[in-house]
């Protein structure tokens, strides 16, 4: 059966994705830093689904290793899902350059470095799919988290271009824009219940959207309309707002 490569596999969304894909009969490459921490998790998947799970060490910000990393994957994955992401508080990101840079490198530069390699191979073989987990935060820069948001804006634009490029080679690209998701990362935030998705629901949404070749997925779906409104507020008003 085909392998799916999940980049940034230690996040809550990634783990749920791993379970969903395994349940649907796919084998898995799970990649991330200190990936050995997922040893028990990979056992869990094997017991649940009987699928193969292979852990692969990968630092998304160590760009020079990416070519070698992908070259060594055998068999090549049918699908590549980029879930890796980094978010720190805006106040920290805007005062510490190292934090800004890490946000940019994890969310954008690293993803581009790796997906360039993946895309070239998939174009060549005319087979496969790519899923990039971006964010609604990339739809418009807000003072509350524009450093994170701008990296996601760049990533969304990249994915859109990639989808356009690979269309004629039958390689599909899905852009995922989650809104609030209840994860370890957000456990201490007061998130509005109606707007907050569970990681498992996000994973199921992604799987369905990928299988049916959707282009852009907002999850929960209501975020499509929330962001539609937010992006249409005139800038002369928007700049005065705190949202």
């Amino acid at each position: 059966m085909s392998y799916i490569l999940i980049i940034g596999a230690k996040s809550d969304i990634a783990k749920e994705l791993a379970r969903v894909y395994a349940k649907n009969g796919y084998d898995l490459y799970l990649a991330g830093r200190n990936i050995d921490e997922l040893q028990n998790f990979s056992e869990d998947i094997k017991i649940r689904s009987g699928r193969n799970v292979i852990l692969k060490e990968l630092d998304i910000t160590d760009f020079t290793t990416h070519l070698d990393f992908y070259a060594k994957l055998e068999p090549k994955p049918l699908g590549v899902i980029v879930v890796s992401g980094y978010m720190t508080e805006q106040s920290i990101a805007q005062t510490q350059w190292s934090e800004s840079l890490n946000t940019i490198n994890v969310n954008y530069t690293g993803a581009v470095s790796l997906l360039n390699i993946v895309a070239n191979e998939m174009q060549e073989s005319r087979n496969g799919f790519i899923v990039g987990v971006s964010s609604v935060a990339g739809d418009r820069g807000r003072k509350a988290n524009y450093i994170y948001g701008s990296t996601k804006a760049a990533f969304s634009a990249y994915l859109s271009g990639l989808r356009n490029r690979l269309y004629e080679y039958d390689v599909h690209v899905l852009t995922v824009k989650p809104g609030f998701v209840a994860t370890k990362m957000t456990a201490n935030l007061e998130l509005p219940e109606k707007l907050t998705a569970q990681a498992s629901d996000v994973a199921n949404d992604i799987f369905k959207a990928q299988q049916s070749k959707k282009n852009t997925l907002y999850t929960k779906w209501i975020w499509r309309y929330i962001m539609l409104i937010i992006t249409h507020i005139p800038e002369f008003l928007f700049k005065k707002m705190s949202i």
Partner: protein, 430 residues
């Protein structure tokens, strides 16, 4: 975002502490706070509610499966539905399952749940080989079947510590089809006779029309069955219906319940009939409707479940059904079942006799009615099920549970009472 129990009553402010590793749990337990462990929020009342909640659901790895012996080792946050999804296609089923599969393994042990086969298989603890418990001081203990901690923790409502993982044995099946027989009875006497006639069947449960009056009191549909000997082992999830919001509270009244009960009762053929049904239809009919608890409206509901000793069940049930019918308070689902022998666990609910479970929406006058029912339960030597309860008094509760003092003594001795408390444990002082 405060957590709710399945009955959505009471609504209290609480803070959830996510448990995804035992190290993190040990850290939480060092803080000078009281907690109660919480699984998937399927207990009906306040047994898993407190100001501080340990949310065990993220702690959900399968650790090992011995495919020869059918023994699964898994963490406490694993859902029974996860177990079924993984193992039914390989020909394994839960030895004991309650009427919902959307509960955690830890919750199943803490409530020592039971199912339609209680009269032959006993409670969930029967399939538990051993488990790991984190005690009040953050220590991890392996608890085996011969220890007092086993007797206290199975059915102990999370009050002895936090169950981390457990080894359970599964049962072999050769088909996912259940051969079901439905018996339609006209009154309580016929219902009892039918239960006893079909006692040899491994699975049995009756739906009873609790608004029926006079001669018809206790009329029911008794459904009994067993797995077919051979067939397919596929287990596909069917699409679920959803109740997207709370129904207005007037949606459920004496008339609508009567209409529902009439339809339900009359769609079944008279006398004895046979059907082939799948696992989800037979064991988990309500799981097909997500958020079905919302039909009772936003003020919530409770389930009143009691059991009476067998020799006094007929008299007691008759008295209780008469009282309910006279009150006109509606209940969609009144479930009657004949149970087998009690186990030795301190707080497990089942004893040999008949148990009835009824849903009521929370409204004025309800608790007075339930207090009156309590009096009958006490009079006939019965007891109330903590997993469903949200209002029973200390006195009523105590009168039914003979091992209660052993449980209290253990809690004090091991300082469990300083760390683990729920609204319920405070109310009934356990």
């Amino acid at each position: 975002m405060s957590l709710l129990s399945w009955g959505m009553y009471p609504k209290i402010q609480n803070k959830a502490f996510l448990v995804d590793s035992s190290a993190k749990l040990a850290e939480y337990l060092k803080e000078p706070r009281e907690y109660i462990p919480f699984g998937n929020g399927r207990s009906y009342g306040d047994s898993a509610l407190a100001e501080n909640i340990l949310n065990i659901k993220p702690y959900d790895y399968f650790l090992h499966f011995d495919a020869e012996a059918g023994i699964l080792h898994a963490q406490a946050g694993v859902l029974l539905s996860d177990i079924l999804e993984a193992f039914v296609p390989q020909g394994w089923f839960l030895k004991v399952t309650p009427g919902t599969k959307l509960i955690t393994l830890g919750g199943a042990i803490a409530s020592d749940v039971h199912g339609k086969n209680h009269h032959v298989q006993g409670c969930f603890s029967e399939c538990v080989e051993e488990f790991t418990l984190m005690t009040a001081n953050g220590e991890t203990k392996t608890v085996t079947r011969d220890s007092e901690l086993f007797l206290a923790t199975c059915g102990g409502m999370g009050l002895t510590g936090v169950i981390l993982d457990a080894k359970i044995s599964l049962k072999k099946i050769n088909s996912t089809t259940i051969k079901q027989t439905t018996i339609k009875t006209k009154n309580l006497q016929e219902t009892f006779a039918a239960f006893e006639e079909y006692e040899h069947m491994p699975y049995s449960v009756a739906w009873i029309d609790c608004l029926a009056q006079g001669e018809a009191i206790g009329k029911c549909l008794l459904m009994v069955g067993d797995f077919a000997d051979n067939g397919k082992l596929d287990y596909k999830q069917k699409p679920k219906k959803n109740i997207p919001f709370n129904f207005p509270s007037f949606a459920l009244n004496k008339l609508s319940v009567k209409a529902f009960n009439w339809l339900y009762y009359n769609k079944a053929p008279a006398g004895v009939s046979k059907q082939n049904v799948d696992i989800d239809t037979f064991f988990y009919p309500l799981d097909a409707i997500q958020n079905w608890n919302r039909i009772y409206g936003k003020s919530g509901f409770t389930q009143y479940q009691f059991i009476l000793p067998k020799e006094r069940s007929y008299e007691g049930l008759k008295a209780i059904l008469e009282k309910i019918a006279a009150s006109g308070k509606g209940s969609f689902l009144a479930v009657l079942k004949l149970y087998g022998k009690a186990n030795a666990n301190y707080l497990s609910f089942p004893i040999e006799g008949y148990s009835l479970a009824l849903d009521f929406k929370i409204e004025s006058g309800l608790f007075e009615l339930l207090d009156a029912l309590d009096a009958i339960v006490v009079e006939f030597g019965g007891r109330i099920y903590l997993t469903k309860d949200v209002r029973v008094s200390k006195e009523t509760f105590e009168s039914g549970y003979e091992h209660i003092e052993k449980f209290r003594t253990l809690r004090k001795r091991e300082k469990m009472d300083t760390k683990f408390q729920s609204l319920q444990s405070k109310r009934v002082e356990i």
